[in-house]
Symmetry: C2
């Protein structure tokens, strides 16, 4: 048992990964935390008010600790040319989905500073973050508030930067992981390091305790990463079929289908590299089979938002954002408490 989890009073070396934008939920995070793991809420897209509500909703369900996850963003300025190009490329798909010719004005993402203010005020036990580094004064404020910090690394360089910053733990996001890549130094396509490799590199080269993420779906996977020296395994895709998860029905169906055997890392949906089930939309702005260069995050995401919502509403998995790790073939459909029980079955023997 690591000091990190012991300090939190978390019994199991198991973290439910944050999955912003739908799949995670207060019900899921609370159920995992109640079962002895550490639940997470991906709050990157929430306004300060929504973030406050999400924390309150989770606290209403459990007194156990859980983690809030935010994106540390430094948004580039709008590139009108790129945005016009993407908008034009989306136009035929918008027509296909019977959307009006004029896209609804995109909502800007909530500002990180305002989100952090809520976290500092409401003091969830853990803040995990991705896409970058907190400023030293932000880390100091979190520490002073008694909030443990977890940074996300996709390379050894990023792990080294997080260690210099002084986080309490680092999540090694292996290439198998679904959803957005956390890469913040260099090209994310050069930072697709397998979970086994990245975990072992960070464990042997850093002093900060390491969480392993990517492709872990069962007890053997958890045991393997503990043997690599991680103190906990973080699982996202594994929880996506739980009834407590907010996963869209068409997304659930895709996860259970043979389509989920083929995932790609693509910038098509948000402008940032993310792993999901390969589909028609992922290939439109694909990085290899690329027809049209995407705009940057979050402008690109804003441009695709209305289309993605319409695709979900119309059950069109070919145009939906179907985040998924590489190991959906091992998915089980169980309530979160039972899944946690199955995941740690026999783990005591390590």
């Amino acid at each position: 048992m690591s000091g990190f989890l012991r300090n939190l009073g978390v019994r199991l070396p198991l973290i439910q990964a944050p999955m912003a934008g739908g799949p995670d939920s207060p019900a899921l995070a609370a159920a995992v935390s109640e079962a002895g793991g550490l639940g997470s809420l991906g709050c990157a897209y929430l306004t300060p008010e929504q973030l406050e509500q999400a924390i309150a909703a989770t606290r209403a369900l459990t007194p156990a600790p859980f983690a809030i996850n935010l994106f540390v963003r430094s948004d580039p300025p709008d590139d009108a040319g790129a945005m016009a190009r993407v908008a034009a490329a989306l136009e035929p798909l918008r027509r296909e989905l019977k959307l009006t010719e004029q896209p609804a004005p995109a909502k800007p993402l909530p500002g990180f500073d305002a989100q952090l203010e809520v976290v500092l005020r409401l003091k969830p036990r853990v803040l995990s973050f991705t896409f970058g580094l907190l400023a030293p004064h932000q880390l100091a404020a979190l520490r002073a508030a008694g909030i443990a910090t977890v940074g996300t690394a996709t390379t050894l360089e990023e792990g080294e930067a997080l260690q210099r910053l002084g986080v309490d733990a680092i999540c090694a996001q292996g290439s198998e992981a679904g959803g957005h890549r956390g890469t913040f130094l260099g090209d994310p396509y050069d930072a697709l390091t397998g979970t086994l490799t990245l975990t072992r590199q960070l464990v042997t080269r850093l002093r900060v305790p390491i969480i392993a993420a990517g492709g872990i779906m069962d007890t053997a996977g958890i045991r393997a990463v503990l043997h690599l020296g991680a103190f906990a395994a973080q699982l996202g895709t594994a929880f996506m079929l739980c009834p407590e998860a907010g996963t869209h029905p068409a997304h659930r169906a895709a996860l259970k289908s043979a389509a989920a055997r083929t995932t790609v890392v693509t910038r098509a949906f948000s402008g940032r590299a993310a792993r999901g089930i390969k589909n028609r939309f992922s290939e439109l702005f694909g990085d290899r089979a690329q027809q049209i260069a995407p705009a940057t995050f979050p402008q690109h995401q804003a441009l695709t938002a209305e289309l993605r919502s319409a695709a979900a509403a119309q059950n069109r998995p070919d145009l939906m954002q179907l985040w998924c790790g590489q190991n959906a073939v091992m998915l089980r459909e169980l309530p979160a408490r039972e899944l946690v029980g199955a995941l740690i079955d026999g783990l005591v023997s390590i």
Copy 2:
């Protein structure tokens, strides 16, 4: 201990990966086998006579079993247009290396059938193969000769195909692995599944015993894949700095440098996807930053052969083929016997 290794009389769950074209050698394979693991010789580029010599040279060094590895190829017909395009792209680099304007005529790769004939006659204990499936009559002939067979899978679909064929074991080639990708069904860039994930998928979905490969560099890595259910770990990059290896001095220097932290899967060198250290040449025909589409294997490889040789002779790592897995940062420089000892240190405790 698995039946596969027990039948061979191999004591340790450790296989030295075949590394055709230089890094492996009879001295390396023999040293690993003598130390209790299973050495391998990558013989894909050897003529029948050279293959016979390599087997004899290894047998002169050890009575222990070792594996021969071959590429199961189905070469596409020459595409004159693609070859002319590649030749033109290589021209400035040829000038830079002071090669004559007219490339030397490319040597065709030895035929697989002739190679297999040598294997059936000389009966090494194991034939591992990659890039495809043996024909059923070839597998039957190997079995009749008492030669164990190991196929290479990069996806669950390929594992299923190898199981149907009836191989004795399957090597799960995780995305971390260096050198050529074995992918033979579908796009190799859709088949970059992490070692942890692929190993666990094949172990849980197939009945054939599984070997795990990709990013494994130490005892903890071996222990992790054994806990995933693999019966052995296969390590390539880990052996590349052994004095017994044939690794080129400039390649050794690159493996020890910070450059080895960034590897890419590229078709630039051979026309087939392979993982190596990112350099100027890998980016020339890169699949993402692609300037020029490569020709297919082995035509593309033949076109680049003289240039690659000249680059090696002139110590020009920017133009050399620097195969490397994702975990070179953990490389140790030890004689093979000592390295095997270090790799299995404490492994008895599993």
